[in-house]
Each structure stands twice: as structure tokens, then as C-alpha cells.
């Protein structure tokens, strides 16, 4: 198990490095001038060529790409993600101050998605082939195909603006997390419920369930006590993988709901071509994804002893 963890950590470091290099090069190759965007994003009324040139020099944008990349990677290895070009503050501080809000949103969405997918998946499997199954699958299908930005905009208008429930400008605290978390969760919940349903139906053909049925176990008890535990590993695995999807969806949902998290800040950074912030966000996302995958592997090993030796 220890060698497994060490191996995964080494892979994670390589993934982080690769992600940083790819993001850095892609941003450097994209059109537009970061210095000009930054001055505009700061609300300066007139952006003069002199000011743009001075900022370019200050940010080192007049240096060759490889030199800039090398400097950046060297700093990253020493734990320095650089400073935001827009605000001048260290990227670690900028992202760090916003990370709790994003984690609140993601955790809430994760919780809602798990609960909703369990309810939908169990309902579909229990009433397999009947109305409950069809309704559950229809809901899953709808939530899968409707993009979260559309759902968010519509929900904001209908729920907050027209009905007066909730807030438009979220403060990033638990009190205002419901609606954005719900929007962030629905796509994942739909996807996970489908996986759970398929897994539960697959588990029904296991021989031990024949024995359980022969012993007169009720349908609901069979579902919850025998089928569900044996169906959890694929369900847990996809949750781990899709934590990245939740994080990836956070910038959109955070922007729609003015949620003061890392994702919204990164969207603004993309607009301003604030490269240190963008690369920092990518690295944090990769790190969280890798950590989530590792946790999932460990949880799966705990749930299913057969996986511990693999």
C-alpha cells in the first residue's frame, strides 16, 4: 500500500509539472497583449503605449518565452506561484483567500449530488422497468443535457429575481450556497445516478442474492443491505473522477452567482490574461483532482478488500 501511495504521488508531481508547462505555453501563444488587458481590467481610463510598454518590462513579458517558462518553473519548485499581474498580490494569497469559498461550494455540491444520485439511482433500481424508473431516468437525462450555465441563469432569474428567494450576489458563505451548489450538482447527480442504477442492476445477478431471496429477505432490505454495498465501488470511483468536473464547472457557476471563489477569480484572470493566476488555478485543480483520486482508491480498498492487493 505504501509503494502504491508513493507511486501515485510521483505521478501527481509529473502531472502537475506537465499541466503547468502546457498551460503556460498555451497562454503565451494565444493572441492579445496581457499588459494592455491588465491596465484595462484595472479600470484605467486611458491606456497609453508608454504605460503598456512599462508594464511589459515590469512583468518580464519582453523576455524570451523559454526564459520566462524556466523562471516560472524554478519559482514553482520553491513554492512560489508568482504574483498576480492584475492585483500585484502573491497568487498563493489570491487563490488561498478564495479557496475556502470554492471548497464550500464544491463540498455542498458534492453532498447534494451524492444524495440526489443515491435517491435517483436507488429509486430507479428498486422500480426497475416501472414508472419510478422511467421518471428517474428522465430527470437524469434532462439534467445531463441542460448545460449548467443555462440552468444557472434561468434559476437565478426565476428563483432569486422573480421569487425573491436567495441572493444574486453571493457572499461565499454557507447561508447562500444552496442555489449555486444545486446548479453545480445536478449534472453530476444525473450522471452518477445512472452509474449507480446500472451497478445495482448488475449486482442483482450475483449468486448470493439468490440465497438472500431464498431466505425471504424483503426487496428493500435486499437493495440496501446486499445490493448497494456491492455496487458502491464503481459509484465511488466515478465520484472521485467527477470531483474534477465539479471543480471545472465552478468557474461558470461562480460567475453566474457572483460567488467569490477561485473559479470566478480565474475567469476574470483569463479575461485579463493574468497568466500566473491561470496557471496557479490549473495546478490547484490538478492537485485536488489527484488527491481526490487517491482518496477514492483508498476508500475503494476499504470497501472492497479484494482491491487492496491490486
Amino acid at each position: 500500500m505504501i509503494s502504491f501511495v508513493i507511486c501515485r504521488l510521483a505521478q501527481s508531481a509529473g502531472t502537475l509539472l506537465g499541466g503547468a508547462v502546457i498551460t503556460f505555453v498555451m497562454l503565451a501563444a494565444s493572441p492579445g497583449d496581457p499588459a494592455e488587458r491588465i491596465l484595462a481590467a484595472q479600470g484605467k481610463e486611458s491606456v497609453t503605449p508608454t504605460a503598456v510598454a512599462a508594464l511589459r518590462t515590469e512583468l518580464g513579458l519582453d523576455r524570451p518565452l523559454l526564459a520566462r517558462l524556466w523562471s516560472y518553473l524554478r519559482d514553482v519548485l520553491t513554492g512560489d506561484l508568482g504574483s498576480s499581474w492584475s492585483t500585484g498580490r502573491p497568487v498563493i494569497d489570491e487563490l488561498g483567500s478564495r479557496l475556502p469559498a470554492t471548497l464550500r461550494l464544491t463540498v455542498a455540491a458534492l453532498g447534494l449530488a451524492i444524495i440526489a444520485s443515491l435517491v435517483l439511482g436507488l429509486a430507479a433500481a428498486w422500480g426497475s422497468g416501472r414508472l419510478l424508473d422511467h421518471v428517474s431516468r428522465l430527470l437524469s437525462m434532462v439534467f445531463l443535457v441542460v448545460p449548467s450555465f443555462l440552468l444557472g441563469v434561468v434559476a437565478l432569474d426565476l428563483v432569486v429575481v422573480r421569487s425573491g428567494v436567495g441572493v444574486v450576489i453571493s457572499d461565499g458563505q454557507w447561508g447562500t450556497v444552496l442555489l449555486p451548489a444545486l446548479i453545480l450538482a445536478v449534472g453530476s447527480a444525473a450522471s452518477w445516478s445512472r452509474v449507480l442504477r446500472a451497478s445495482l442492476l448488475g449486482a442483482r445477478s450475483a449468486p448470493f442474492l439468490t440465497v438472500s431471496r431464498a431466505r425471504g429477505t424483503t426487496g428493500l432490505r435486499r437493495l440496501l443491505v446486499h445490493e448497494l454495498p456491492n455496487s458502491l465501488p464503481p459509484f465511488v470511483t466515478i465520484i472521485g473522477i467527477e470531483v474534477a468536473v465539479l471543480l471545472g464547472g465552478a468557474p461558470i457557476v461562480e460567475s453566474i452567482f457572483s460567488w467569490p471563489g477561485v473559479g470566478r477569480f480565474t475567469v476574470q484572470a483569463v479575461g485579463a490574461r493574468d497568466m500566473p493566476v491561470i496557471v496557479g488555478f490549473v495546478m490547484i485543480s490538478i492537485a485536488l483532482f489527484v488527491a481526490a483520486s487517491l482518496i477514492v482508491d483508498l476508500v475503494n480498498a476499504a470497501i472492497d478488500p479484494r482491491l487492496r492487493g491490486r
Binding site: G43, T48, S97, A123, D157, G175
Partner: protein, 575 residues
């Protein structure tokens, strides 16, 4: 398309008791959570921050902000003795949603936000006719071409209680001259000294007729307590500490500043009367849609920086209103490079004559912009109407220049097509709308217009793969000086003369204007300058932008101000 709400999903599951119990419990908990947050928000928006003469209510407002925004720096009001008053509860509050965040209260780096939101003042105030009026100064008079006498009001007090006197004014201008390059370049300071009771005499190295405008520009000389700021710098404290330094003299003092919002309260004994608001909240919301929805949901009274498309989306609604002001000279211009086919004056004039200025403002932008009949805004006494749509004239000029219409309706000369590579950019969404409309208009007289949306104005500043660009700009400075735009954008070698135009007559007129004090002579010069611009096809405005905001019903009568001075001591809801 209809989306099932959590409650409707709950209803569907009601036939299964255990599932229903789980879902109902979850829904009740979550809805209760949402409702409580809504209540919090309402309380924050409506409860006056100051209810009595002490600082308790201020502290309460700050504490709430603390709970809501982790990064907020909250302090007791700058000087408790100066903050709030007993009548505050009777006064309205105002919550503004704006797109730009205020980073800190540093007077050199970030004070330009201050005059906009009522916590910083300037020496002079911009006016619609282009001639600033005294603000913190009582009078400003030129005694000769390079000497100015500045008379300071005798009742201005900083929020920390220090009186702003003549010596403070000298220190302020000297400090800004030493630390603000653009101010130093514009003001050309030679000397400054106290020469009487509340009187300061300032000399410049060269004549600077527009010095009043320089002092009315929010980026130049914010009024602040230099000694207190110097003490802050010497202490090595973080910029956040400026929150309780009481550096400024505005009617409102900031009591908390976070990444999401800022809270301000009125000060007692403000020199220009009692501030009209009991509390001012500024919310930083980069997304335009969210700012509008914040007004609709009652979380903000006024939303700033509105795209014109918002006017259409709000038509017929009674929860938010698109309110426009008088155009002040901010516009979308046609930057036309003096190169290739467009090096020919007749072709340039033909292009400008073929633009349908009325249609751009009234049809394309749905009346949300004013017709650009002049290159200056309509409120300036020197503005003359030089921009006239005349397709016959355009055709005549192009015919005369040898550009012949081919069978496809495009003009050619010696096998070369009269192509116009027209750029727009996404930071100003209307620029692309205007460019596409102009493609159609110019096509009527034979221009083959290729519209390209570039990522930003770098292509204009540095590239040569373009003939024209639709740029959001103005010939007026932020403080409405008519010279600045001419000097930087149209004079030979100007630092923003990306069109590479060069006209000796214009250069000479602008040079004369830059040293002329007499108002009547200046106006005559500006008329001549506008004629030269027109006769040589140097530059054109496509539309005049109307400053706009979105308000709720209570603030529907809000007068959109000049130079973004959104909040003053007098700002209040009006019918």
C-alpha cells in the same frame, strides 16, 4: 423549457415514505437556509449604518460585512468623533454595484475611485461646458500665462480631524508632482508657495491654459492629508491600515473594504452641508448581468457600467430601469490609417461622408446613443456640426479619385479593389456592432469592408494589417479638456496617433491652443481645428455614447453624472 424544482421532485416522490422523508427534510433545511441568507441581505441593504451619534451602528454594519466576506478589513470608523450623526436614520441608504474593485485607499495608486464614490475630493470639479468650477478650492485664477493663484476654502477638514490649510495644499501639490508622472507632465510645475491667508501661488514652466482641467482630473491631485500619509509610509504599515487614517475630505468615509464590497458612512460637519445618505455600500460585481439582477432582486439600487444591450432586455420591466445621461464626448471613433488607398484625402472624406450617423445611433444602437454630428459632445460651446451623411458627395469624391464601381458594386482602380480592413474588439461589444453596420453602409458607395474582431487594441497600436478601427475613445480628457485627445491622437508624433496622420495646419493650431488662455480665442481655435479635421478626413466619431446606469424604482430619477462622479454629498433618490 421547464426545469423541475427541488420541491416538485419532492412531490413526485411522495408516494415512497422513506425517500420522501429524506427529500423533504433536505428541502426544508436548504430552503430555510436560503431564506435566512435572503433576510440577512435585506437587513444589510436597508438598515442605516448610523442610528446615533456614536459608532455602535457602524460597528454593527462592519461586523456583518466581516461575517459575509472573509477578506474584509473592518475597523472602527476612521474617527468616531466625525462619523455619523443623530439624524442619520431619517436619511436614505444607497447600494451601488460596480464592476471594478477598489484595492485599497492609497492616494497615489488607487484614490481615483474616491471622487466617484464620495470619499475623496478634488481641487476643481469637471463641468459640462469643459470649464471646471472650484471644488475644494474657492477660486483659481491665472494672473499671467505661467502664474496661478489658488484660493483654498477655509472650512475643509480631513476625516481625521486635521484642517486642510494653504501649507497642506502646497505639500499636496508638491507630493503629487513628485510621485505622479502624468500630473507632473501635464502641470509643468515650476514653483508653489503660500502667499496669503489661504492663498497659494503656483507657477508653471510653460503656459498651461488647461491647468484647471488638470486639477479636475481624478487621476492627478486627490485631496488628502500628506503628513498623515507620509506617517503611514514611514510606519511601514500595510495599505489596509489606511482605512483608519482618515486621509481624505469627502462627505463619506470608508469604514470597511473587502474583496466583495466597501461600506461608507457620512461624516459630521462636512463643509458643504449634511451628506444626503445615511450609508453607502459599494458592491464589486464584475459580471454585468449579475449587476442588473442585483438591482432587480433588491440587492443594489444602482448598477454601473452597463452595455447598451441591457436597455433592450429591461424594456417593459418595472423592477429595473435603464437610465441615460447627457453625452459628454465619449464616443466610438473611426481610427483611419493614413496609408495605402486611405492616404488620399478624398477617399478618407468619402468614407466619412458615407457613414449614416443617424442610423448608427438610432437604429443600430436602438437610440441608446446620440447622433455624432460633431467630433465633440453637444454640450461644449465650441462644438460644430461637421459630420454629415452625403452619399452623393462620397460617390463624387471616389469617382474623382479614380475608383470606379465594378459590376459587383465594389470600386476598383488599376485592378486594385477598394478594400477597408476594419477592426473591432470584444472589450467594447458595441464596436463590433458598429463595424458590421458600417460594412453595410460603406458598401453602398463601393467600399469592400472586411470586419475582423481582434482580441484587443494591440493590433491597432502595433500592427499594420488594418485600415480602420472602431475604438471607444474621446477627444476630451476625463476632466473634459478638449486639448488632450488632439495632442495624443491627432498631432504628428502623438503617443496615441496610431493612424500616423500628420497635418501641419492641425499641428500649428493645436500648438497655439495649448498656450492660449482667452476663452473666446480658444473656442475660435477649436472651431478651426474641427474644420481642418473634417476637410482632411482625419478622424470621425460614429456615435456619441450616452452614459448609463440601471436603477431600481426609487432611484429612477438618478441623474447620470459627469466624469463618473456617481456619489456626491447631494446624491439622493429623487422623483
Amino acid at each position: 423549457m421547464k426545469y423541475p424544482s427541488p420541491s416538485s421532485q419532492t412531490a413526485r416522490r411522495r408516494s415512497r415514505p422513506r425517500s420522501a422523508a429524506v427529500a423533504a427534510g433536505l428541502a426544508v433545511a436548504l430552503i430555510a437556509s436560503a431564506c435566512s441568507s435572503d433576510d440577512d441581505s435585506d437587513a444589510r441593504a436597508t438598515v442605516p449604518a448610523t442610528e446615533s451619534g456614536d459608532s455602535v451602528p457602524v460597528t454593527a454594519a462592519s461586523a456583518e460585512t466581516d461575517a459575509a466576506v472573509p477578506a474584509t478589513t473592518a475597523v472602527p470608523a476612521a474617527a468616531d468623533t466625525t462619523v455619523g450623526d443623530t439624524a442619520a436614520a431619517d436619511r436614505p441608504t444607497l447600494t451601488i454595484a460596480t464592476s471594478f474593485a477598489i484595492d485599497d485607499l492609497d492616494p497615489i495608486a488607487n484614490s481615483f475611485w474616491g471622487p466617484e464614490f464620495g470619499y475623496v475630493e478634488l481641487l476643481m470639479r469637471p463641468e459640462r461646458d469643459g470649464t471646471p468650477s472650484p471644488w475644494v478650492l474657492e477660486d483659481m485664477t491665472a494672473t499671467d500665462d505661467t502664474t496661478w493663484e489658488l484660493t483654498l476654502r477655509d472650512d475643509v477638514v480631513f476625516q481625521n480631524g486635521t484642517v486642510f490649510d494653504a501649507q497642506g495644499l502646497v505639500e499636496l501639490i508638491e507630493f503629487c508632482g513628485d510621485n505622479n508622472e502624468s500630473f507632473a507632465a501635464a502641470a509643468q510645475l515650476e514653483s508653489i508657495e503660500v502667499t496669503g491667508d489661504g492663498i497659494v501661488t503656483l507657477t508653471t514652466k510653460v503656459p498651461v491654459p488647461s491647468l484647471r482641467n488638470v486639477l479636475a482630473d481624478e487621476s492627478n491631485v486627490p485631496v488628502f492629508d500628506v503628513a498623515a500619509y507620509q506617517a503611514h509610509l514611514d510606519s511601514g504599515a500595510e495599505p489596509a491600515a489606511l482605512l483608519d487614517a482618515g486621509l481624505y475630505s469627502g462627505p463619506y468615509v470608508m469604514t470597511s473594504l473587502g474583496e466583495q464590497s466597501a461600506e461608507l458612512v457620512p461624516i459630521d460637519n462636512y463643509w458643504d452641508g449634511e451628506p444626503a445618505l445615511s450609508a453607502l455600500t459599494i458592491k464589486f460585481v464584475p459580471e454585468a448581468t449579475s449587476r442588473v439582477q442585483a438591482v432587480q432582486a433588491g440587492e443594489a439600487d444602482i448598477a454601473l457600467y452597463m452595455p447598451t444591450v441591457v436597455a433592450t432586455t429591461l424594456a417593459g420591466r418595472d423592477d429595473a430601469f435603464y437610465v441615460t445621461g447627457v453625452p459628454t464626448g465619449t464616443m466610438f471613433s473611426v481610427q483611419l490609417r493614413d496609408a495605402g488607398a486611405y492616404g488620399d484625402t478624398d477617399v478618407r472624406r468619402a468614407l466619412f461622408a458615407a457613414i449614416d450617423y443617424r442610423a448608427l445611433a438610432e437604429d443600430v444602437l436602438d437610440g441608446q446613443a446620440a447622433i455624432a454630428e460633431s467630433v465633440y459632445g453637444p454640450t461644449f460651446p465650441f462644438a460644430i456640426n461637421t459630420q454629415v451623411t452625403d452619399l452623393d458627395e462620397a460617390n463624387r469624391l471616389l469617382d474623382g479619385a479614380g475608383w470606379v464601381m465594378n459590376g459587383d458594386g465594389v470600386r476598383e482602380r488599376d485592378g486594385e479593389t477598394l478594400t477597408l480592413r476594419l477592426l473591432s474588439y470584444p472589450q467594447q461589444p458595441d464596436s463590433n456592432t458598429i463595424a458590421v453596420a458600417m460594412q453595410s453602409q460603406l458598401g453602398e458607395v463601393g467600399f469592400a469592408v472586411e470586419v475582423t474582431e481582434v482580441p484587443d487594441l494591440t493590433a491597432v497600436r502595433e500592427g499594420d494589417e488594418w485600415d480602420a478601427a472602431i475604438v471607444g475613445d474621446s477627444l476630451m480628457s476625463f476632466s473634459l479638456s478638449p486639448e488632450d485627445g488632439l495632442r495624443s491622437g491627432l498631432v504628428t508624433g502623438g503617443d496615441q496617433n496610431f493612424m500616423q496622420v500628420s497635418n501641419d495646419e492641425l499641428d500649428e493650431l493645436v500648438a497655439t491652443l495649448s498656450t492660449t488662455f482667452d476663452e473666446s480665442t480658444r473656442n475660435d481655435l477649436l472651431v478651426q481645428i474641427q474644420n481642418v479635421i473634417h476637410d482632411n478626413g482625419l478622424w470621425a466619431a460614429t456615435i456619441m455614447r450616452r452614459p448609463s446606469v440601471v436603477t431600481n424604482a426609487a432611484w429612477k430619477g438618478y441623474e447620470v453624472p459627469l466624469a463618473n462622479l456617481w456619489v456626491t454629498a447631494k446624491t439622493a433618490p429623487s422623483s
